[in-house]
Symmetry: C2
């Protein structure tokens, strides 16, 4: 049946096409049915809604679909009821608890990327993966299918290095130091990072304070060929675009069965041959103890070996923020001051040189951490960072004080003397978000004391920065109410009273 297209200027976040009741009856379609739309030799699918303000023989399209089809009002298209996609049959197989082969996995990932699967169908797939579990073969198939359905870097190097942190510790600006150190040592490290999902800032957000990070694959290749490294936003590179789709499905349900394949597919897509996985471990981050961390690293190693990526792991201390700054601008300031050897955050430097050291040793150098420190001390890391900033289009001469932070601040002072006993990382991250992070890069938190430090009565414990005073106050209330920072004296042995069993909603998701 031929229909005339009309752009309805509606945005739904889904692939919706609309017919009036009469037209729908003619093709025998009901609301919710899948339609096949043929236009100028291209075929797309969409979900039918009924709208009687639409004229006969007219197909109304959402703005997203109009753009995708490159359609103009009045264009003639052919529509028909679509068959059930093969990927849906594969999803039903998984719902039967069966293992999927590569062809089945590819059909699902491809249809997800091309928008041929509905949100509830993707949900069924993700929940089935979560509850039945995936084995190593399937994880590898998913990774490979995610690589195949996205952009790839072609760097023509024999060995390519990468790092990944599963996140969870606020203020973790380690990558901003690791990349320049490793690149200065002559290794190739095309680092792409995500933006914040549940945190106050992702590495892409932090880096964006210093330089543009929205670069495409071809631009990245040029930069890395010149400087050995880069720090870019993975979203703009379109590596494994399936991940963006699946994370939106997983996140509201606090499940992440696709975590490993998603991460590893992005590493594979940049051509990584060696990587180090940083697993911050602590009571208030995602991975709570060393045993869990070791199991997770082992899973990555196994999947890596299937994909031809050599994985080493680093279990790192995750009981408190890294350095003192939380929030993109404050963190970029701190990283810059440290790499300039102006105002060095010792824990940040130790973490960065440890991780860089592992990569250097994977490249065959001996005593990696010492070498990393040497590169840092000689100013070669700073020089390399400024080179990368220049190549990515930023101001290579940027100084910490050039970076603007929130115009309003609110401080928390100690009510009594004692020692800093505990941070709740998830509370601090959420408070920074209340203050405006990550969309407002200038919002964040500066902590004044770290674990074990003595605190005098009236001393400042932390300061919240925001452009909106009410938000800073709200963030502060949140920290106080939820024990984001605890100062205690001596023998208080009761950690928490449990009055009624209640589910605490998870505030974290692994970075990917």
């Amino acid at each position: 049946m031929n229909f005339k297209i009309k752009n309805l200027e509606i945005e739904t976040g889904a692939r919706i096409a609309m017919l009036n009741e009469e037209s729908a009856n003619i093709i025998g379609a009901h609301p919710g049915d899948r339609l096949e739309i043929k236009l100028k030799g291209r075929t797309s699918t969409a979900i039918l809604n009924i709208a009687n303000f639409i004229k006969n023989s007219t197909l109304g399209l959402t703005r997203e679909l109009t753009e995708e089809l490159n359609a103009k009002d009045g264009d003639e298209c052919d529509i028909d009821l679509a068959k059930q996609p093969n990927s849906l049959i594969a999803i039903k197989e998984k719902l039967n608890g069966r293992r999927l082969d590569y062809k089945q996995v590819y059909s699902i990932i491809k249809d997800a990327v091309d928008g041929r699967l509905e949100k509830d169908e993707l949900t069924a797939f993700v929940v089935a993966l979560h509850s039945f579990g995936i084995n190593l073969e399937e994880a590898a198939y998913i990774s490979e299918a995610m690589v195949e359905t996205g952009e790839k870097l072609n760097l023509k190097k024999k060995r390519i290095f990468d790092k990944h942190s599963i996140g969870g510790v606020p203020g973790d600006k380690t990558t901003l130091l690791v990349v320049p150190i490793v690149a200065a040592a002559g290794l190739t490290i095309p680092k792409t990072s995500s933006r914040a999902i549940t945190s106050a800032a992702g590495t892409a957000d932090r880096a964006e304070v210093l330089m543009p990070v929205n670069l495409d694959a071809r631009e990245l290749e040029k930069i890395v060929n010149k400087t050995n490294g880069c720090i870019a936003w993975d979203g703009a590179v379109h590596l494994a675009p399936a991940d963006d789709i699946f994370i939106k499905i997983e996140y509201p349900f606090s499940i992440d069965p696709l975590l490993l394949p998603s991460i590893m597919s992005k590493k594979k897509a940049v051509g990584a041959t060696e990587m180090v996985l940083d697993v911050p471990t602590g009571e208030t981050v995602k991975v709570r103890n060393k045993t869990e961390a070791e199991l997770l690293i082992k899973d990555f190693m196994e999947l890596g070996s299937k994909l031809g990526i050599h994985v080493n792991g680093a279990i790192t201390f995750g009981e408190q923020p890294i350095g003192h700054a939380i929030g993109a601008a404050l963190e970029a300031r701190e990283a810059l001051a440290t790499i300039m050897r102006k105002n060095v955050e010792e824990d940040l430097l130790d973490k960065a040189t440890s991780i860089a050291g592992i990569l250097l040793e994977m490249a065959g150098k001996s005593d990696g951490k010492r070498l990393a420190k040497e590169i840092f001390n000689k100013g070669l890391a700073e020089k390399k960072l400024r080179e990368i900033i220049e190549e990515q289009g930023g101001n290579a001469k940027i100084m910490p004080e050039d970076i603007e932070i929130g115009s309003y601040s609110e401080s928390l002072v100690a009510e009594r003397e004692g020692r800093l006993m505990k941070f709740d990382n998830s509370v601090l991250a959420y408070a920074a978000r209340i203050a405006g992070a990550p969309s407002n890069k200038k919002a964040g938190i500066l902590i004044n004391k770290k674990l074990g430090e003595n605190v005098a009565e009236g001393e400042t414990l932390l300061t919240i920065y925001s452009d909106i005073p009410a938000k800073a106050k709200e963030a502060m209330n949140y920290i106080v109410r939820n024990d984001g920072i605890i100062v205690a004296k001596g023998n208080n042995m009761l950690i928490k009273k449990i009055i009624e069993e209640k589910v605490k909603p998870s505030r974290f998701i692994f970075e990917r």
Copy 2:
């Protein structure tokens, strides 16, 4: 924020509200967010879409939502971002593999019925139930919550009888005989049935050929108080409306974790204290052997005992259609001719009196099947059926020949002599649907031969009825191509060659 309502005359099958971009920004909402709409003291939730044809300070609503809110164009409403519903937290618990308590289950069922959960959220719940499984406690909680969120019959009888078939055999018009037999014996049997989901006709469809079946709870009470029985469509009674919602979620994925609770909730809602579960068993129906059937009946018994319903089971022969007719009108004709003792289908009569007999014995009578036959032979069953038809508003004097069937027919003749060896029930049911069933009640199939009967070359095996010749031909092709009926001679031992492993999509779903 105050907004003016505008009915957009769009039907989406979901709870959609639309704002333009500017309005959405003002309340800080993004496409896909959940909005809380307050109008005339009532609060509803809806999912936000963006549509820039909508004016500032205007909230566009789908037709469904406008009706539900009883809103008029220009009504002032207050909108806000909605909080995550408690039911979603319960769904996440289930996704963690935990058992749910009654409060949690109730929150999910209630929010499903009130439209506060999105399709993908319901999908996550259903898939989690399917893959993690539900235990007896949870099944009882779900049943009870489904009862609480729907209509209930209040018949003021000490004992109320019911029957249920899980379906799968085409032509199963047993209920049309069981209800009048049991009611004629003085037992109370307020039978509500579903329409066809994947079959050629549901009991409600068959009964509707003889009498109106869209009756509400109060009408049903009146009818049952007068005649002891009824045969109504469960959808109109609004017993356990949650089932209608969940079946739409389950069906596309061919899973049905809510099967038992859904069925039992409808029995509980009519006040049933005793019921018999009919499980047709055979190679081409849902339950393939006696072991499976026994396990299923045991599950029903256990759930029944939690809900105060005494369950007995009947494993019945399911290798071929019941009687000779498939399709609502043809089946109603056949049931009527049988109950009138004019043209008795012996297998139908045997099945009906067996099941009625079990119910009579549950009521304390001895030799139930003999008693059932006696009631039938004396014409008391026919008399009772006509009473029920009269009370439900049908023509009590209806004769088989008054019932119209498809105007066009297409017959299949035997290509060679032999014996009727096999039916494929799922193929026959699907063919009847191709011919127009269940929406066209006149469409269907009359089989001429049953299992084991001798067939001469050129003899008619079956006849398809339809109002559309092309549909009858297509249905016939489908039967021939898919071995819907097999005539063979002697020693053909190869049943099927398997060339390539392929998933055969399930064509069945349990009736509920």
